[in-house]
Symmetry: D3
């Protein structure tokens, strides 16, 4: 039996709470079950130097875990910087797909995704909540996102395909797949055989299941924006 009494391809309870930071131009506390990520969007009236004069704005992200967001404490100095940078790059890349960069010209929106509790799926929660924070910050400029973006994790455990893995599942998965999705198609696919290979057919089944979960998340994102 999965935690939360879920079926293999069912998500954990999802919550996207806005207005959680009084200063940020957009903020969202994204929870997938026990996992909690605090996402803030900061609007700056400048762009990185290499974009100067290019007629475009920029969206970037930084992902970090609080030291005790995990079962055992990870020292601030010993946190896996490679992993954190890799996820930061993924979040930034994914959310840039949601912004019309020429319309943002002259502005940078900087997403901070700080993990308060890590029970699996933190990069996906960061993208889902980050999109809400981004949309709220764009609203301050009179802009709307050009595209919705969400993400979901999937895996194979003891031969069974599952969706939205919690940490206990993730740590024993034979295959780990993260999907970044828009309503119109795929944004990013990252699949890793952790302890075994996978077939093109399994990949196709998981992509299909992920696209189904995406529809639920897209609806929750829109509801969060309306409630804000």
């Amino acid at each position: 039996m999965r935690p939360y009494g879920r079926k293999p391809l069912e998500m954990r309870p999802l919550s996207l709470a806005t207005g959680v930071n009084p200063y940020a131009e957009g903020s969202c506390l994204a929870s997938f079950g026990q996992t909690q990520v605090l996402c803030t969007a900061s609007l700056e009236d400048k762009v990185p130097g290499w974009l100067d004069g290019g007629g475009k704005g920029w969206v970037t992200a930084e992902y970090a875990m609080l030291p005790r967001s995990t079962h055992t404490r990870t020292g601030r100095e010993h946190r896996n910087k490679g992993r954190a940078q890799e996820i930061s790059r993924l979040i930034g890349r994914s959310l840039r797909m949601a912004a019309d960069l020429p319309a943002l010209a002259g502005h940078t929106i900087r997403l901070d995704c700080d993990v308060l509790v890590a029970d699996g799926g933190t990069r996906c929660a960061s993208i889902c909540g980050g999109w809400v924070a981004l949309a709220l910050a764009m609203k301050k400029l009179g802009l709307a996102p050009s595209r919705q973006v969400a993400a979901i994790s999937l895996g194979r455990i003891a031969g069974e395909l599952r969706l939205d893995l919690c940490y206990a599942e993730d740590s024993t998965a034979e295959l780990d797949l993260n999907l970044v999705l828009a309503p119109e198609g795929l944004v990013e696919v990252q699949g890793t055989g952790e302890d075994g290979l996978f077939s093109p057919e399994e990949l196709a089944l998981l992509v299909k299941a992920g696209m189904g979960a995406g529809r639920e998340i897209f609806a929750a994102q829109l509801a969060a924006l309306e409630a804000a």
Copy 2:
């Protein structure tokens, strides 16, 4: 008129919520008005190398601000490391006064105080909430704190002595005083003339006011422990 309709020597609404982190041996979200600090206490079964064989345990603390905890975002790389280390050292020093280190022999308790929202008084909120988290972690070892410890900020603004400054007040204060207190006396006094001098008489008045506020905080800490 002060924010929250307060009198000069009145505190902001105070909240010390426990159980906010599922993994930490102790946790407390301390709020002083809008200010929010997430405190976790992590229990380790070892001591720093220089304490080996000394028959004592250790308590230490790390203080950090999330990038958008402040009005404008502070880059993770540009956060004032000197200030953060100075506050970390203050928190650790203060909370070691609350622990019977020989009774903790063989253990380290590591407090992480991460500021979610900074509206003044973050180091005091860290000490107040950190004490609750520490007490909860000590309970896992069957130990109780040897002493209660709390902290409160005070200042002089346009000649008026005030207690528990919010950011807007703090940034215009002529004198900034942080008191760390136990029910039985003073633990630490840090007073700085930010833009002018102060007299021994003013120092004495502020210390007296701070000790009064301390009694309120000590009660709230005990209530939080009972509710946990």
Copy 3:
């Protein structure tokens, strides 16, 4: 017309030269067209601390680019460390799938993949050449790889699906896909919509084309080992 007069799903000339370093336990200079990566495998008689007593060996990798491996020089201090670490982690993860870690117990094999010339596909060349270097180093221990591992890049450019992109193609691709493959199935899939979305059908077509190229590379790897 593609560089080297290639068809959309055709590889560049591939070369895997062994014996290029007199000290390393295994070495291979992997060339995909103009791209050149020098791979060395260093055998150490110890394992990382966290594996001590675990009855397993370890395989890890470091990827780096020489400053002038690119069209314009990149300062050693300004090289994209996030990207390099991300690729290092990918190479290490992929090549661990080629080693029977319990059989390696007590040993670490450390792959260094230094890019001499970067004309696209450097991470794939690192994995292909790294596997050859790894196999040679394992031979010194009387071991053989448990599985063959190779990698290939693919993409979509102006709507056309292509294989083994050179830099000029890669920089204009709308979709960028890296596949890590074993003869028996997929090891890793990393697909990114750089400037547009992609469909599950496109993903399936690219995976199929990549598996075809994999067969060519597997043959070249075996030939390189025999010639060594």
Copy 4:
């Protein structure tokens, strides 16, 4: 009996020697007994970026200990950076109270306080000698300090209140108090119960004793300036 045959509230022999560096705009070797701090003031014709156009100058300080200034050598890499930054910030803050910043507009004065021998009271010696170096550097601009600033350490040892602690005393003190003073009032109070609490009454007594010692130091500073 205290070292140097002193009474509890008596200072060590104090010396403030000027002209000890041929290049600096102001220099002073401050000695409190065996403690020696070399203070230089460097005058720059620019201000930190964040002050540009603000019509103000700036005064800042850096404090560091030579590796063998202490009983046992401290490696350059392992010197307690948190403590050094904390003291640097204290010195800078204190000496800014001595300068009319608008009159300094366009200039920065940078104090370097390098500890040659550390036998207690190094931060106080830095402030006392730093003030002399600062005054000499201001003289090059035809300016005089707006206020005199000095500092003195105090403590409680085995229940006895003492002034100007040497290292052997400081390391066993139950209470450690540093006072920064002007002739007209208090600039900064930093009191820490190292191993026990203290009362408001003890604080008041120590502040009074410190203000008495301040008068001696103020006289020595003026004498040093006249002799320069």
Copy 5:
């Protein structure tokens, strides 16, 4: 008998191959026996800030060893940075003697000397090959080097004076001498008694032998340029 069947004052087989990097303005793979250094010259249309408006160009160098260029692997983080910087500074200083800096006004030429295989004499190979790469890059600007520069290592082993030491010799040398030479005289002399002293007479003999080898290298450099 010396490796390669050499007499005490005879060089190893020398090769200076050009055109080894498709992007760099000049490139040369310098081999002294088994030692291999890849030298690239990158031409930039700017000068370091401190040269702005000075009417001069600049030449600088960076030297680094690949991790497995040595008998045992050296971690990228643990490579002897002091030694590498010292050699970088030597190469830059030496090659600036080959360039008419006023004629280079507005340009920087940046040499990267990356050691692929280190069997002794890597700094000398870097200077010899770096000069060829520099000359090729200057040619792109229509300039020629103002002076030829080469380098050679010498030493005393078991009392015998030898030239162009390989690693096995170098590691047992009692005296280690590196000479940087122009056809018209000495550019730099660095002699170190590794395990014993040396006399002015020995120094004079080694300088004379080094100048002889210099003539061979100067001829090889010119041949490489002609063949390019």
Copy 6:
């Protein structure tokens, strides 16, 4: 006319004062004219890890300049680390020639050479004063140096050969030569043509002049030891 009214091959007034640090096992303030270097020798009862069990002790050195030891202030962060490390390595290498390392077995002597005032010749003053500090520290172990070591700088300015250059001379020298000497021969020769070449004959003349100055320094070192 040279500063101090010196002839071309005459030294500046030399002073080697001992007992300048109350904690160090050996200390010496070395002055060459205005140049001042504070040298301390710290004795440790352990050796670097790579020497464990090798039956040898170790001598090492660290050289650093105080920020305002120079005409204009150099920021602590921007001090030329390459140069400082290069000089640290030179001092350590040179002073190891003065110690019988097997007799030192189990001990490390760590020299700190901190430049208080830099008016040329700081590396030579460090070696000369460092030798005195080293000898005093060895005496605590009942050992004597196995060899005397000193150093002197020389140069060619406007065609004239000169000895013991001050900063004003050094910055215009065409040739810069540092000699490390023992009474019985040469330890190290570092000659650099700063802006022009030099001949073997000039090198020989300078070496001879330097050996003459060495005799004066050796006598001063012995006198300092006797007076200690």
